[in-house]
């Protein structure tokens, strides 16, 4: 049941992405309305998928690779939709939908098996720590998308050669604001994720910090974002360097999420 919903939402996301791409190229407003509705429908179906998976598994479905990536995609979708509710950033939807579809495909390729929960994970910290961390990643992903759009737009303005992005992407100011807002939400959540993780580690493994690879990389990621946020708030760091830094920091997020599991292992790797 939950898998069927997963497949349906993947298909719906794909339809939304295609519609968004059509809108991006044609810039017809009614196409955007349709794309937005399809995307919202995808988000709702995906929510339903996660709820049914929760009921089937009997625990928060953020333990296996499939579940984590799917939840990550879900977080991005809802970060975007919640964001859109307050600010409009022209054509952001196109980029977000592409990213969502990529993540959903990755999730689809991973094993969908529902694994019994290992004892260490049997705690009510699981839903809290895992979901806060991944929602934080969702906002940081949005910041990264904003950074990519910024670089595309800035390149055309700086080089004075206007291609397909100049007219379609929003103003540099709007993209910089997007970056700023996403960081101001994402960074505190990331911090909260690390703190809750550390408290949980104390309960489960007896110490707050283990220097397990995942923890180490989380810390590296945290320092990257901390530096970025610090620079932004103190000397008004913005524009191209800030956008590049946002993208680099997000690569660290992705590495923490996946790379660590495959390359470094450690006690944080539960499903393999």
């Amino acid at each position: 049941m939950s898998y069927l919903l997963f497949q349906i939402s993947l298909v719906v996301y794909f339809a939304a992405m295609s519609t968004y791409v059509v809108f991006f190229l044609s810039q017809k407003n009614n196409v955007r309305q349709i794309a937005r509705k399809i995307f919202l429908a995808g988000g709702l179906l995906h929510t339903l998928n996660i709820i049914t998976r929760y009921l089937e598994a009997g625990h928060t479905p953020i333990t296996s690779q499939h579940e984590t990536v799917s939840f990550f995609a879900w977080a991005i979708v809802w970060c975007y939709l919640s964001f859109r509710w307050r600010y409009t950033v022209k054509n952001l939807g196109t980029f977000v939908s592409v990213m969502t579809v990529i993540l959903m495909f990755i999730a689809a390729l991973a094993s969908r098996e529902i694994l019994p929960l290992v004892p260490a994970l049997q705690s009510w910290w699981l839903p809290f720590h895992a979901s806060v961390s991944i929602v934080a990643d969702g906002f940081l992903a949005l910041a990264c998308i904003g950074g990519i759009m910024y670089l595309l737009q800035e390149r055309e303005i700086k080089r004075k050669r206007f291609g397909m992005f100049y007219s379609r992407l929003p103003s540099l100011d709007a993209l910089d604001k997007l970056n700023h807002h996403c960081l101001s939400v994402g960074f505190p959540l990331l911090t909260l994720g690390i703190i809750t993780g550390s408290i949980w580690a104390k309960q489960a493994w007896g110490a707050y910090w283990h220097w397990d690879p995942k923890e180490t990389w989380s810390l590296i990621t945290w320092f990257l974002y901390a530096a970025l946020v610090h620079q932004r708030f103190t000397v008004g760091w913005r524009g191209r360097p800030a956008a590049i830094m946002t993208i680099v920091a997000f690569l660290a997020v992705l590495f923490t999420l996946w790379g660590v599991n495959y390359l470094l292992g450690g006690i944080h790797t539960y499903a393999s």
Binding site: S167, S171, D173
Partner: protein, 430 residues
């Protein structure tokens, strides 16, 4: 009965030099001219558009030739001799008039093709005409259709999307960099005419604060006063960079007045808020390397011109699409007009048939005493079905566009003759 002609008379920036347009006897406002036009003989419905680039009168009349002279006389009085007028005034009738109106509404006839202002002016002019009830069923329909055509052009083409003058291009760039312009300030370095124009556009887009720096302070003060801004001396230039966001430079200096190393420390002071330099001076005032700094953008006059050229080429492509839309809408309207012409005959024909039907029914039903209401209904139904079927072909004959052998007017006459629609009263049977 021939239908009224739709006539459009006008002058615009293309056909008529300003000296002639200035002689138009139109004093401010629409009320007075509309009222006077209404008093002319032979004009049925009318409407008037007057903008800085064009004056156009649109009216319907039975006798286009006679009214033209009267309208021209009204517009120009004796200020311009008749022969000369023919050279300047354009005159369109019917389909051509419709097409011209649609072109104007869609901003395809404007000085800056694609600018959006004209549609607003058209609507304003129409508001006066409809308030004073000088427009009737034909012009109402026509003007609404022109708004519709303009809207289609705007949504289906990109004609108004890009800037086709240097100062518009600069404004557009500023919007791409800053988003909203309303809390930004602009500094004019040097007080040339072009800089003034660009500043005017920026202020029109909401830029709040204008600073003028000039070699002679007097000129700076004068220009600053125009924009409610402040004047500074050229020596304060670098200091001012901390406070302004957009700099338009147009001094007559022979060398550069700002270099990269002047601007770099300023960015720290500005906490990296973006700076946009527009260098429209020849030779250039600003060092090209300034553009290499992060969050600093420098465009010179050549950069802006090439954007404008690119946009113009793009716009010309879109104009072809727009003209196709106008042609489509013109055709639709002509079709409606043609049907208007047929309509009275159709109504009369139906009326006559219904009359006969009712008369015969009354006669027959009066004699049949003992029928049920249900049976009576059936008979009535049958009678009207016969009438409808009998009329079907004549009506098709009137309406059909495929019948190209016989002209519409002739077809109308044939049907009227055949059914004696015009002879009922005045010409009794022999």
């Amino acid at each position: 009965m021939p239908r009224d002609s739709i006539v459009l008379l006008g002058v615009n920036h293309k056909t008529t030099p300003l000296e002639i347009r200035e002689k138009l006897a139109l004093s401010g406002g629409y009320e007075e001219p509309l009222r006077k036009l209404g008093q002319l003989d032979g004009i049925k419905e009318h409407y008037l558009l007057s903008t800085c680039n064009r004056v156009e009168v649109l009216y319907t009349t039975e006798n286009p030739a006679a009214t033209k002279a009267k309208v021209l006389n009204f517009l120009f009085g004796n200020a311009v001799p008749g022969r000369e007028l023919d050279k300047y005034v354009y005159h369109y009738e019917n389909e051509e008039a419709v097409q011209h109106l649609f072109m104007v509404a869609s901003s395809l006839d404007s000085m800056i093709v694609g600018e959006a202002q004209i549609l607003g002016q058209l609507k304003e002019a129409y508001r006066f005409a409809s308030e004073q009830k000088t427009s009737g069923s034909v012009l109402n329909k026509l003007l609404h259709k022109s708004f519709f055509a303009a809207k289609r052009v705007r949504t289906e083409t990109q004609i108004g999307a890009s800037a086709v003058s240097i100062s518009y291009a600069a404004v557009e760039l500023a919007r791409k960099i800053f988003g909203q312009l309303d809390n930004k300030s602009v500094m004019l370095v040097g007080a040339g005419e072009m800089a003034e124009l660009a500043a005017e556009h920026l202020v029109g887009q909401g830029v709040a604060n204008v600073v003028v720096a000039n070699r002679t302070l007097e000129r700076a003060v004068n220009l600053a006063r125009r924009f409610n801004g402040q004047a500074v001396s050229l020596d304060e230039l670098i200091e001012q960079l901390e406070h302004v966001d957009i700099i338009i430079s147009s001094t007559g200096a022979t060398g550069t007045i700002l270099s990269k190393k002047d601007v770099k420390p300023v960015m720290r002071e500005r906490r990296n808020r973006p700076l946009f330099f527009i260098d429209i001076a020849v030779p250039r005032d600003l060092d090209q390397d300034i553009n290499d700094l992060d969050n600093v953008y420098l465009y010179d006059i050549d950069d802006l011109s090439s954007i404008v050229e690119m946009n113009k080429a793009e716009r010309d492509k879109e104009a072809v699409k727009a003209e196709r839309i106008v042609a489509e809408e013109t055709m639709k309207f002509s079709h409606w007009l043609d049907n208007m012409e047929v309509n009275p005959t159709i109504v009369e024909l139906r009326g006559m048939a219904d009359e006969i039907c009712r008369f015969e029914l009354e006669k027959t039903l009066g004699r049949m005493k003992d029928i049920s209401p249900k049976e009576q209904k059936s008979i009535e139904k049958m009678a009207s079905a016969i009438v409808a079927k009998m009329l079907h072909n004549p009506l098709q004959f009137l309406k059909s566009d495929n019948n190209r052998c016989v002209d519409r007017r002739e077809r109308i006459n044939m049907v009227r003759d055949l059914f004696r629609l015009d002879q009922q009263d005045d010409c009794p049977e022999e």
